[in-house]
Amino acid sequence: MTAFSADLGDTGERRRTSDAPLAITDLIDEATVQSIAEEAWLALVGEEEYLLPLPGGPADDAVSSWVEVVGPWTGTVVITTGRSTAEELSRALLKEHAPPVLDAEDVDDALGELANVVGGNVKAVLPGPSALGLPEVGNAPEVTDPADVVRIDVLWRGQSLSISVQGSAGALPDPYENHENEVPL
């Protein structure tokens, strides 16, 4: 309970600005997300792999990967593209290390790792301390507050792809509370 909420006469009108939840639009802009994504693509996908900042429209068979960021700002960093684009992206990422047959798990894993890399670098420019979750793949988490979203729509090899940094409503868990790593040392 804050000093302000403890004051029974407080109607909320005097609440400090810093008590307001952080909106992602106050913390990062599209140009920064674009820059982070371009750096990831150039290093991991290829030196001549560009993300053109042009909207290409939604994919028919969209698949998303995302990582959660938990901290002063809590939300998810989501990459969404078409399934066939995700397969092409996986091959480009793996290059000569790609197996002869790329299965769905390979594609999900590669798309998840891209979300992990982009998400980690997004987290680095947000106020900390924050924790990064493990990548997930599937249908993108719903946008709970359209005002708490920064999104870029790009074309990679002429195919549409979007990256959104979107807030999550609800309570903020402790960023260093880790329930998954419980193996005693």
Partner: protein, 127 residues
């Protein structure tokens, strides 16, 4: 020379392993820190471990602490390869016993430069 690559992403394991094999390393892979410890416990002790931070079961920081707590593995060089890029995280990893830190995204040249700094790049790769 031997290297153990620990990452929960098999894509990243393949990429890092491929880079190291290109430098002449014999490579084994593990999907999380516990699996990595199992490899060492089994007697396959590498010269180099490349380990991610965020993984299920046992994360990279726990793995580093576990390796450093065992005197038999004192000679193992540990390089964290992770998307955790804040200064505080790098300090935590180095304090736990990691020797080097590579931030994702990286290039093969970045890995090569770190190995050269660590004295773990085979001489023929310099040529």
């Amino acid at each position: 020379m031997r290297a153990l690559v620990i990452d929960d992403s098999r894509a990243m394991r393949r990429i890092v392993s491929g880079i190291l094999e290109g430098f002449g390393y014999e490579v084994q892979q593990a999907g999380h820190g516990r699996e990595g410890l199992d490899v060492l416990d089994g007697g396959w002790v590498p010269d180099l471990v490349c380990v991610d931070w965020n993984m299920p079961v046992m994360d990279g920081l726990q793995f580093v602490s576990a390796v450093r707590s065992n005197p038999a593995w004192r000679q193992v060089t540990i390089m964290m390869v992770t998307s955790e890029s804040e200064h505080t995280q790098i300090v935590r990893a180095l304090a736990a016993g990691a020797h080097e830190y590579v931030i994702k995204p990286f290039t093969a040249d970045a890995i090569r430069d770190k190995l050269a700094l660590l004295g773990l790049l085979p001489q023929e790769v310099f040529l």
